[in-house]
Amino acid sequence: MIIKKIKTTAKDLLTDGSVSLIIGYGINGPGDVTPVFIKDPDDVEKLVWNDQCYYNLIRYLSDRDFIEQNNGSIGIIIKGCDQKSLKVLLSESQVNRDKIKVIGVTCKGLMDSDGNVLAKCEACDVVYPDKDFCDVIIGEEVKKKEKEKDFSDIDEIDSMDLPDRKKFWDNFFERCLRCYACRNICPLCYCKECIMDQHNPQWVLPSASVVGNRLFHIVRAYHLTGRCVDCGECERVCPIGMPLRKINRKIIKVVKERFDFESGKDQEQKSPLTRYRENDSEDFII
């Protein structure tokens, strides 16, 4: 049983003192999975594992204050998709890999609260976390599915006429509340002072207007260029149901086609915007 193994592993790590905190999934009420923080070995019974564990817990590791409070020694339960986020954080030197213990768990796909399989899980290619990356691996090994990335939804928007495309997005920009939930949940948005909160100079209109919202979403997506691993958390938390993955995946597509780069694969690889090739295509330059 996966959950039994998770509990014993967590207990062992806490008792032998290799970590002072375990971040995992717990239960808040019937059918309501929530992140839990376990410091006492006796509390490991609170851990759960089911198909509702959709939170990307790596979010907590990108919070430097939080890591410092726990002396950096944190054990964390991750799925294959979360592992990609962690690899990006490592490639940006945001996390000290030696201090954290990674417990990888095989995931067979997640459901939303209505029982539908999450869209990101249908396109998943990392059911089983990397053996040599995780400290502990729980669950039976599943063969990696080599899937060609499907960008048909992006092509669909790309093939729209310009005014239609503008209308499609403006429809969401009119409703965006600028609650910044998409930014706050993102495991890779870790700037201490976000550019959206800056007032001098004020780059982006802070009001929830179409102009300001459009710019906000361009900048948010741009800052994830070559970094976003399509964990889908932003789209999940969006209160107006904006298809944020469609924005992120557009950039993933461009980066893959033009720079031949996929984020979250290799922690040694630097972001494509910090590198260049002399023969990069420049068909857009006049």
Binding site: D170, W203, V211, R214, L215, I218, V254, Y276, I285
Partner: protein
């Protein structure tokens, strides 16, 4: 982005506001050469000098468009000619992503351009400006038309 200075009703072509970000070492000198050679080109462009095209932050482009510029042009040294060796290689990647994103959100790609103009290419600079102004004007006209 939303505020267009273009008015299709007028017979005299209204002046556009196009912001040009020119690198200090090549494009700015190229534009200067166009001026000293008395080359004619539309006066719809306002030039901002940047130390290197690699200094270009996509936010600068976006801010211009947000504040009501009709178009933006970024110009730097030819690849391999950068005064700082590699600034223009980085900006080339950055602006590619930006251009794709703008288009994806329904902003006409003709509003944002990038070019390489060296210090000796005064004539090319004049041609680039002519093309950019023409493109931006077309984009504005089309937007007015579709907006009904």
């Amino acid at each position: 982005m939303s505020r267009s200075h273009f008015d299709s009703g007028e017979k005299v072509k209204k002046k556009l506001k196009i912001i040009g970000f020119l690198c200090n070492w090549c494009s700015y000198a190229g534009a200067d050469l166009a001026g000293t050679s008395r080359l004619q080109y539309p006066a719809d462009i306002r030039i901002i000098r940047v130390p290197c095209s690699g200094r270009m932050n996509p936010l600068l482009v976006l801010k211009c468009l947000q504040e009501g510029a009709d178009g933006v042009l970024v110009s730097g040294c030819h690849p391999g000619d950068c005064h700082y060796q590699e600034g223009n290689y980085y900006v080339r990647r950055r602006m590619l992503i930006l251009k794709n994103l703008l288009e994806y959100f329904g902003i006409d790609k003709r509003r944002f351009h990038m070019s390489w103009v060296s210090a000796s290419e005064g004539a090319k600079w004049a041609d680039v400006v002519k093309k950019v102004v023409e493109d931006v004007r077309d984009a504005c006209e089309e937007e007015v038309k579709t907006a009904g």
